[in-house]
Symmetry: C2
Subunit: 215 residues, 2 copies
């Protein structure tokens, strides 16, 4: 029953470098030679281990996708105290999920814009659906308890959740990359921004779900 070691050290090294370069410069702007140089392996090793550049990207995707899928399951089974607590918990866990996989999400967001089919397309689709289900469950729970308004839109909320977090992180990175500050300061500011995002997103969602003054 023990989990097989899927990738050896060298393979993991290649995948790590590939992820970073794909995320920072884009898949097409990253050559196999770039990856090989930074991973300190021969160019032929990529084909030898992964078959092709496409398959390497796929391997990187599957690798992260598995752990993301697991994260979703954890969130879905979480039992919060109140309806609003559940919404808070979803936001927390979703932000954590993205914050812990920043490089992968940068890559994913970029690729999701042009994908039309194939395994990567399917994976991204599954994640979006999982996110919507998550929001739907929490919303319905609150509605049944009579705490949340009935006229809320799950598709909209899901878009806001994903889009806001993405944009907030992108803006933060965008801003930090062009300031002359130390790495430590960078991480502090990044952390502050994430915490602010957390607080305000919760407040905004709960206000949207519970506010009775707006029509």
């Amino acid at each position: 029953m023990s989990e097989k070691v899927q990738y050896n050290e060298k393979q993991q090294q290649i995948m790590a470098v590939a992820l970073r370069l794909f995320a920072e410069n884009g898949y097409d702007k990253t050559s196999i030679r770039d990856i090989a140089r930074e991973a300190e392996v021969n160019v032929a090793m990529v084909s030898y281990y992964f078959g092709s550049k496409d398959k390497l990207l796929e391997a990187v995707f599957i690798n992260h996708f598995k752990s993301i899928r697991a994260s979703f399951k954890v969130i879905l089974n979480h039992r919060g105290d109140s309806a609003t607590d559940k919404v808070s918990k979803i936001i927390d866990m979703f932000i954590d999920m993205l914050a812990n996989r920043q490089l992968f999400h940068r890559l994913m967001i970029r690729e999701s814009g042009i994908l039309k089919q194939g395994p990567l397309f399917d994976m991204i689709n599954e994640m979006k659906t999982a996110n919507r289900r998550l929001v739907e469950k929490a919303v319905k729970n609150g509605q049944q308890l009579g705490v949340f308004r009935k006229d809320v839109d799950v598709f909209f909320m899901s878009s806001v959740l994903i889009g806001s977090v993405n944009q907030n992180m992108a803006n933060t990175r965008y801003e930090l990359e062009h300031r002359n500050i130390t790495k430590e300061q960078r991480e502090i500011i990044k952390h502050e921004r994430t915490e602010t995002l957390r607080t305000h997103l919760k407040r905004m969602f709960i206000a949207y779900l519970t506010d009775t003054n707006t029509p």
Copy 2:
């Protein structure tokens, strides 16, 4: 004082095709030969008119950027009745701005993820700043009138505005592209989604700005 005709018919044709292919398949996955074929011109015409593929992208960007900048000016000078009306108007105009330039925004979102410097970088930065100023102005107005809470975050709100609209449109497109429906039905659904987005984003923002039940 008459506006010079910047681009002749053929140039505009090339730019239109380039924008579409860049947006749909990505800049790097689009070859000059692809553009030339669909625009029904010789490959050499791109270099002849624009200098290079890079410059063509830049020309496409500048072209749209100018009209976007103009749109921002209109929004910034708008005089709504109440503080909430002003917020509503900003959301309306921002959504219209993106909805009317869907291809360009798809391209821009994608490229903004990997740009590190250069003219395109500067343009995108200006747009982000303009958006933040816009939100800031409306928020301060409402706060001075005592209608809005004091503890709201402009950086956060700007991220939510841009991110939510982007994500909503991306999700809608993603979903529609894989349904067997006519173009007319597609447009109807797209329009519905945009209207829902409008309504709910306004409600959410105003709830966030005015709600007094949440801490």
